[in-house]
């Protein structure tokens, strides 16, 4: 990254672009790592004869951590205005950005709850870090377990596809259209992106 000082304000026809708040960016990148990790752990876990049990002990606390993070994040999102999308973004992309954001928030909230309820319905204890027992949030019932298992698998694929589309969309904007949409979420110095979005 460049160590040059932030360019002084240069006269410009368009208003100075703004970034997401530092907190929003921190939440985004922390959760990005956690969500990609848990998706890949989940895919590998269900196939692995040797590592299934160990990976379950990673998957469960990671899922609960994502649930806690997304609650904070939704709270932050509702009380802070995100920076505007780049000018010149077409209507279809604006709609995609808006609804994919909502879909991601919904999935990140619902999927850990489905998983938690699913293990509850199996009757198995949910133990974090060896000794912290979570309460069961669903009655023990294998029909319910089966339905929640189907839902957990479906939501996992949907979450993965939404993430893959999100990544591809950002890459198209960054390296094809070059409208610097990614800079809004960046921690690195990006010329012209000094300020944060103001609190609502």
């Amino acid at each position: 990254m460049s160590s040059e000082p932030t360019p002084t304000t240069t006269p410009s026809a368009t208003p100075a672009p703004v970034r997401f708040t530092r907190v929003a960016r921190l939440l985004h990148w922390t959760m990005a790592v956690m969500v990609v990790a848990i998706l890949f752990i989940g895919a590998f876990m269900v196939t692995s004869v040797g590592d299934f049990r160990f990976l379950v002990t990673v998957h469960e606390p990671l899922g609960i951590a994502i649930l806690l993070f997304v609650l904070v994040r939704i709270g932050w999102r509702l009380t802070h205005t995100p920076p505007p999308l780049p000018p010149g973004m077409v209507r279809l992309d604006r709609l995609a950005a808006k609804y994919s954001e909502r879909l991601l928030y919904a999935l990140l909230l619902v999927q850990p709850l489905i998983g938690w309820a699913m293990v509850s319905a199996s009757g198995e204890p949910i133990v974090l870090f060896g000794s912290l027992y979570l309460p069961h949030i669903a009655p023990q019932n294998i029909t319910l377990f089966a339905d929640l298992l189907r839902a957990h698998i479906a939501a996992a694929y949907l979450l993965y596809l939404t993430f893959a589309a999100h990544l591809a969309g950002v890459l198209v904007h960054t390296i094809v259209i070059r409208d610097r949409v990614l800079d809004r979420m960046a921690f690195w110095r990006a010329p012209g992106y000094g300020s944060e979005a103001p609190p609502r």
């Binding site: 199996s122 198995e124 309460p135 019932n141």
Partner: protein, 364 residues
């Protein structure tokens, strides 16, 4: 920078490439490109290949009956493990008697391996699940051996017996199984499920309140006298379970819970090998089975007896079978819970009305 056709196409190709790597890695994690790797699904497929697919039933130990009772601890186990189970007192249990194999209506036979699975309901939602068998050592040391043995010992349609050539090739590849079978043949099965011993076989680690950890194995030793099978009239199809039901109707049946403490150097990763006979044994209490139930919603039918569900004070050893059992049992559970259910072969008739010690759904 100007957007011309060339840069756009290059950019799109780069995005496509990144996305392809992304999706490929995800599918790769799911085993799509490694058809020769033994995945959990392929392991469970092998049971279905050998025994047939029977909707709603466990892929192994498919035939069984639910049981309930109590474990009464004498307090001696607290020297070995801080698990609440070993405090002097009683713990409700959900249990299941079974015979091995994936066919839920198979006829009972003396030589078929018998199982006793127990779920101890500890305070505060903690659980200990263990699934034991009546043979003194296990037939397989590694999961791959178990997987290959299923096919190698599958009865051939013509003779009803395994193909000797396949068995010989298997035993040459897995000599530990040949040694284990020799040990097993020296301890013939008892006359019934009610007077069978049941052995944990896999090693675990117990840690007491002082933080001392020891390797252990365990056995449920029957209090009913163990007598060998007599040569009597031709037994009925479910004679092992029928005798168990008759016995429990007369009154509770008991097993003494024995913990065997390993010494340094005793293998903890080889269930085919018994520890030396002089190892210290601690009797920690008595398992009492006082009622049996036809498999039904809410009882042991719906429990996955995953031996890696352990309370604080008990931990896994380096035995590779334990991780595999957890994975394969979970896959079996995930399949059978999504399938339609049919009535179980073993039907328990009217029992004398007594206090139900526990039922599964009292967990929160």
């Amino acid at each position: 920078m100007p957007l011309n056709r060339r840069t756009v196409l290059l950019g799109l190709a780069a995005v496509g490439g990144v996305s392809a790597v992304n999706v490929g890695a995800f599918l790769g994690a799911g085993g799509w490109f490694t058809p020769d790797t033994l995945t959990t699904s392929r392991f469970v497929d092998r049971f279905e290949q050998v025994f047939g697919k029977h909707d709603g039933f466990r892929r192994n130990h498919a035939k069984g009956v639910s049981a309930a009772g109590v474990f009464t601890s004498n307090g001696a186990g607290t020297a070995l493990s801080r698990a609440a189970l070993f405090q002097r007192g009683t713990t409700p249990v959900t249990a299941r008697f079974s015979i091995s194999g994936g066919m839920p209506t198979v006829a009972d036979a003396n030589s078929t391996v018998r199982g006793l699975a127990v779920l101890f309901h500890l305070p505060d939602g903690a659980q200990w699940r263990t699934a034991m068998v009546n043979v003194p050592v296990f037939t397989d040391r590694v999961p791959q051996g178990f997987y290959e043995r299923l096919l190698a010992t599958q009865p051939v349609p013509g003779t009803g017996k395994p193909d000797p050539a396949k068995v010989a090739a298997f035993l040459a590849k897995y000599p530990e199984t040949a040694r284990a079978m020799a040990v097993i043949s020296k301890s013939p099965p008892s006359s019934g499920l009610y007077n069978s011993p049941f052995h944990g076989l896999n090693a675990f680690r117990f840690t007491n309140s002082a933080g001392d950890t020891v390797p252990v194995r365990w056995t449920m030793m029957p209090e009913e006298p163990s007598q060998p099978m007599g040569a009597g009239a031709a037994p009925g199809k479910d004679y092992l379970f029928d005798a168990l039901v008759a016995k429990v109707m007369q009154g509770p049946v008991h097993w003494r819970f024995l913990i065997t403490v390993g010494e340094p150097g005793d293998p903890t990763n080889d269930a085919t090998t018994a520890w030396p006979a002089n190892r210290r044994q601690v009797e920690v209490g008595t398992l009492t089975i006082d009622s049996l139930q036809t498999e039904a919603p809410g009882n042991a039918r719906d429990v996955n007896f995953d031996p890696t569900v352990l309370p604080d004070g008990i931990a896994l050893s380096d035995d590779p079978l334990l991780a595999a059992r957890s994975a394969v049992y979970a896959q079996s559970y995930q399949r059978r819970t999504r399938e339609p259910h049919r009535p179980s072969e073993v039907q328990v008739g009217q029992q004398p009305s007594g206090p139900r010690i526990t039922k599964v759904d009292h967990e929160q």
